[in-house]
């Protein structure tokens, strides 16, 4: 464990540890980025979508005649049209099926009902307004608990006869009997219901595509917003029957992803069908309301947790039962074996032997989904639950929450550590991170201040979260999505003049891959970072990869990049030996050159070696200098950190004010400190968002009550605290660079710190839990009930 990054390369080379300025930025700062809606193709048409005002209804008829009379409206596509081609259903990533367009029934408000193709965006919208749909409303189930009640209306009668219930699946992990026994024997048991509401990633750019069918060449080019373009190509080939070599999926600059651009939405499919039908490029760009009302949601976990401990506060056992609201179909973007994602990482940073976790997936009349919101497959839900439970335990037995954590942490010498639910944590040093956060924020003084304030009746709280993340999916023995193993890839070509083109299987949505992946190559081969160009997102050129989500770019594709570079270094050594007339064993590598041991003036630079690869390669060796690597990680990586939040609560209004927030993160070895810090700042703000502001709620008719940015409350600069960040460095022992991934840690770790701070401020009033978002109205209601406000 260290806290400093000392680069091995010079600033000119700019390998790992340098805060290299991003290559993406000069185009972004000029407004010259090219996002999907900036792209215009010759002859391009527009597609817009008719959506259901009802959450559950029978479609009795669709009358498109008025729409088709509007000059410029070329076609109206309905479910009946798609049914003829067998395209009205599509498979979901979770093995369920999702309507592209309905033929009989709509299942959630804003579901796609028909598509209008027109010559302009405005005319398409006019067409949408003119399509008349005759609905007969049906009863609506919005509460998953009610969906599970005996006799509840079955929402998906299309499922097999033995599955005529709203329970989609039951999943469990750990040892139930052992856990029950340990709980029964525990001196102290605490239990709590914790709801983590439905939220939306709300990337600042919505989703969209241009499907461009070239009938002459039989070529489909799909320009789209996707975090996983290669998988999309394969799925499109399988579903459409088009030969895969004739499908090109191409991404452009993307305005954020956060998991929301992993799934295939009906809009994409409709644009493809429309382009195939009319033989012209068809653009579909969803607007913000469609984005918030119909795209994949995140969270929506109803958790009941029970924690057992000794009198002294040593945790012995954890039992968790969860209901997961999946909407009308299970379209969760999880690896195949994990219907509840990696939720069973819920034992967190703590050393105990007994855990049992069960989750039931449930259908309701809500949009489908189950994407990340900047986290790795349900780890946020897990971290929130364990960090809240540990805090409740500490308060219940009257022990300082920091002390209780310290006494229960997995110790550094226990790594690799096997958890009771089967994960093997790679490395960690949790106590040091927490102590650093406590020192940075002045923990002991804050506790004294809190006591003094409480005596005066003021509400101040201090909350801690000591989280362990689980990222970098994943090893092929456990991890696949629709059968595709979750490896990732990099292909590096070194040109004769010593300049480098590298292509990666992952996809940036703002993380700065063009810079950090160049830094990995600079680190491994010593080419200056400015001489290295990184490409991605074009399935015709980039090697196959599973994409960017779950913080897997650095752990998987980053490793592939290092391994590909090392293959090039191996060949470069042979070339250098040839050029220097020395044996390979006599050569020494330092970034950028091979020299003869003991004769430092006898060396060849990597650029000279590259030139020789094309001009003077030895007999029997292939010309050229390039390599490709498909990396199958041996394990996941486990970043961690400790966050401390200080809040003051306005007793009059219930408003929570975050006074300070210290975040100490450990993501292993760091490629670009500036980018890592930026990722943590951004992640913290996306952790703040659902803690205090964002939630997608529904009324009893299934109407989305947060369908625009007027009601879906994304924080601004005013709401965002001045984050204070620190770091420790505990390398991953199995990653070639010792790196772990960082893009999502802060979103995972921040909410329980904030929630724990709020509950800490209210605990003396008898408050044990406040579900997020902890809005003023919710806090005020508690204060009012307790006679405070």
């Amino acid at each position: 464990m260290t806290t400093e990054t000392t680069p091995r390369t010079s600033p000119e080379i700019g390998g790992m540890g340098h805060s290299v300025k991003r290559k993406e930025d000069p185009r972004f700062i000029r407004g010259a980025g090219e996002y999907i809606d900036d792209l215009v193709l010759p002859g391009m048409l527009w597609l817009d979508i008719v959506r259901s005002p009802y959450a559950h209804a029978t479609i009795k008829g669709i009358d498109a005649s008025e729409a088709l009379k509007i000059p410029g409206v070329l076609a109206v596509i309905t479910g009946a049209d798609l049914e003829k081609a067998g395209l009205h259903w599509m498979p979901t990533l979770a093995g369920d099926k999702q309507m592209v367009l309905p033929t009989t029934t709509v299942m959630y408000q804003s579901q796609e009902v028909a598509a209008v193709v027109a010559t302009s965006r405005y005319i398409a919208a006019d067409g949408v307004a003119a399509v008349l749909v005759d609905y007969e409303p049906l009863p609506v189930i919005v509460d998953p608990h009610k969906a599970l009640e005996p006799g509840a209306m079955v929402l998906r009668p299309d499922r097999a006869a033995d599955k005529q219930t709203n329970r989609i699946w039951h999943w469990e992990s750990g040892d139930a009997a052992k856990t029950d026994a340990a709980l029964a024997a525990a001196d102290v048991r605490v239990s709590e219901d914790i709801y983590i509401p439905r939220i939306h990633v709300a990337s600042i750019e919505t989703c969209g595509c241009i499907a461009d069918w070239d009938a002459v060449r039989g070529q489909m080019t799909l320009h789209m917003t996707s975090q996983a373009p290669h998988a999309i190509r394969t799925v499109l080939a399988l579903v459409s029957g088009l030969p895969e070599q004739n499908i090109r999926v191409k991404t452009h600059d993307m305005g954020g992803g956060f998991g929301g651009k992993v799934p295939v939405y009906p809009g994409y499919v409709l644009a493809v069908v429309a382009s195939l039908t009319v033989g012209k490029p068809v653009k579909w760009i969803e607007d913000r309301s469609e984005n918030l009302q119909a795209d994949s949601f995140a969270r929506d976990y109803h958790i009941h947790a029970e924690l057992g401990a000794t009198k002294a506060g040593k945790i012995t056992s954890l039992k968790v039962k969860t209901i997961a609201d999946h909407g009308y179909t299970d379209a969760a973007a999880d690896p195949s074996k994990f219907p509840a994602g990696l939720f069973n990482v819920i034992t967190g940073s703590y050393d105990f032997d007994n855990a049992f976790v069960e989750v039931d997936g449930v259908y309701t009349n809500k949009p489908p989904g189950g994407v990340a919101y900047r986290c790795s497959f349900r780890v946020t839900e897990a971290v929130h639950a364990i960090e809240r439970m540990v805090d409740i335990l500490a308060h219940d037995i009257g022990k300082d929450p920091a002390q209780l954590r310290m006494e229960n942490f997995i110790q550094p010498e226990q790594f690799p550590y096997k958890t009771p639910t089967g994960w093997e944590y790679d490395s960690g040093n949790y106590g040091v991170a927490l102590q650093k956060a406590m020192d940075m924020i002045g923990y002991d003084d804050l506790r004294k201040e809190q006591a003094a304030k409480r005596a005066k009746g003021e509400l101040m709280g201090i909350g801690i979260s000591s989280f362990t993340e689980i990222v970098g999916a994943g090893p092929s023995h456990d991890f696949d999505i629709i059968g595709l193993k979750m490896f990732d890839s990099c292909e590096i070509r070194v040109h004769p003049t010593g300049k480098v083109l590298a292509r990666i299987g992952v996809q940036t949505t703002g993380q700065g891959h063009e810079t950090t992946f160049a830094q990995i190559i600079a680190e491994e081969l010593g080419f200056p970072v400015g001489d290295i160009k990184i490409e991605y997102g074009d399935t015709d050129t980039a090697p196959y990869g599973l994409g960017t989500y779950a913080s897997r770019s650095t752990p998987v594709a980053g490793a592939a990049t290092a391994m590909a570079a090392r293959k090039i270094r191996d060949k470069a050594r042979k070339l250098a030996a040839h050029l220097l007339e020395a044996s390979e064993e006599d050569l020494e590598w330092e970034p950028g050159k091979f020299s003869v041991k003991g004769s430092p003036d006898r060396f060849k630079t990597i650029q000279e070696i590259a030139f020789a690869a094309y001009t003077n390669h030895p007999a029997g060796m292939e010309a050229g200098l390039e390599a490709v690597d498909y990396y199958d990680p041996p394990n996941l990586t486990f970043p961690f950190g400790s966050y401390i939040c200080v809040v003051d609560i306005d007793k009059g209004t219930g408003q929570v004010h975050i006074r300070r927030f210290v975040a100490v993160d450990d993501c292993g070895n760091i490629i670009n400190p500036m980018i890592v810090d930026g990722q943590i700042h951004g992640g913290l703000t996306m952790g703040l968002a659902p803690s205090l502001y964002e939630a997608i709620t529904y009324d009893e008719l299934g109407n989305n009550l947060a369908g625009t940015f007027m009601d879906y409350l994304v924080p601004t600069a005013v709401e965002t605290p001045a984050w204070e960040t620190g770091k420790t460095i505990t390398p991953s022992p199995h990653h070639p660079l010792g790196a772990k991934g960082v893009g999502e840690s802060a979103t995972v770790g921040a909410p329980p710190a904030i929630a724990n701070a709020v509950v800490d401020a209210l605990w003396h009033l008898g408050v044990r839990n406040v579900d997020i978002p902890m809005t003023p109205q919710k806090i005020w209601a508690i204060l009012h009930e307790k006679g405070i406000s």
Partner: protein, 291 residues
């Protein structure tokens, strides 16, 4: 989100504007800024047949004090009002409200007349006009008339303006010695419409007692309203925390909020009271400083 279709005219002067309103009575909607109206049109919650853009109509944008009142032209933007030195120095209530309407983009382009005529039940200006007992001037081809703010806001998005009339100016009574005002707004995040907004004005007499008080509330009824019960409680009494609480309770009781995403009825009532106390405290401080 694509707006529905509408016709559009941008008359050159007031006479032409009034003629158009007369000719197309009931069809025309005035545009003065549009940051409240255009989102509604884009969401297809409003579909006017004709937009009459006031942008070129001269004489609607001045801000000046007369002997009796502060005259603000209907097309004065929130920002222009906020930045007037006279407003900053002498009308802190107006300086308060113009700092918290929407965001900078709204304040740069949105106008007081547009906002008042739109009469969103949670918009900020109406509370101020109610608290200050301001007057709203409207003109049609046949007449100009002054409408008391307290008779102006009739219902949700509904005011006393006739379809053939243009709101031309707002007259806010001059601030006398011993008077102070303040605006308090509770919002879910910056830029939001008010969950509750309270404008309070108090005038202290030579004896230190409250001679008169004006309280306008927004967000807590079908339309902004004056908390007359609270005003009556305050009048004639010496300013004190207990008195503020009593008046605030009356303001809360007089509220008729609807439960919605901004909170349930009970919470909104309580917030109306809480913000009334806070507004009164600041208003009295400012009144004392202006004695």
């Amino acid at each position: 989100m694509i707006p529905g279709q509408f016709d559009y005219v941008r008359p050159a002067d007031m006479a032409e504007t009034l003629r158009i309103l007369k000719d197309r009575e009931g069809e025309a909607k005035l545009l003065s800024g549009g940051y409240s109206l255009l989102p509604l049109i884009k969401l297809r919650l409003a579909q006017p047949a004709l937009l009459v853009d006031l942008r070129d109509v001269a004489g609607l944008d001045g801000i000046a004090e007369t002997d009796d009142y502060l005259r603000i032209g209907a097309r004065a933007t929130h920002r222009q009002i906020h930045e007037m030195p006279m407003v900053r120095d002498r009308y802190p209530l107006l300086h308060d409200v113009t700092a918290v309407i929407g965001d900078p983009q709204v304040r740069n382009w949105g106008t007081i007349g547009g906002s008042v005529a739109h009469a969103d039940p949670a918009s900020d200006w109406p509370a101020v006009l109610l608290a200050t007992s301001s007057t709203i001037i409207c003109r049609s081809q046949s007449r100009e008339r002054a409408i008391a703010a307290r008779e102006f806001f009739l219902d949700t998005f509904t005011t006393a303006i006739e379809p053939t009339e243009v709101l031309t100016e707002i007259r806010i009574p001059r601030r006398p010695r011993g008077a102070g005002g303040a605006y308090q707004k509770l919002e879910r995040k910056v830029g939001d419409f008010a969950t509750v907004g309270v404008a309070a004005v108090v005038r202290l007499g030579a004896n230190g007692r409250i001679e008169s008080a004006g309280i306008g509330l927004t967000g807590v009824a079908e339309t902004p309203f004056a908390a007359t019960d609270a005003e009556a409680i305050l009048a004639g009494n010496a300013p004190a925390e207990e008195l503020f609480r009593k008046a605030a309770a009356a303001a809360g009781a007089q509220s008729r909020p609807a439960g919605d995403v901004r909170g349930p009825v009970e919470y909104k009532r309580a917030m109306a009271a809480e913000l009334t106390v806070r507004a009164l405290r600041t208003a009295v401080e400012r009144a004392l400083a202006n004695a």
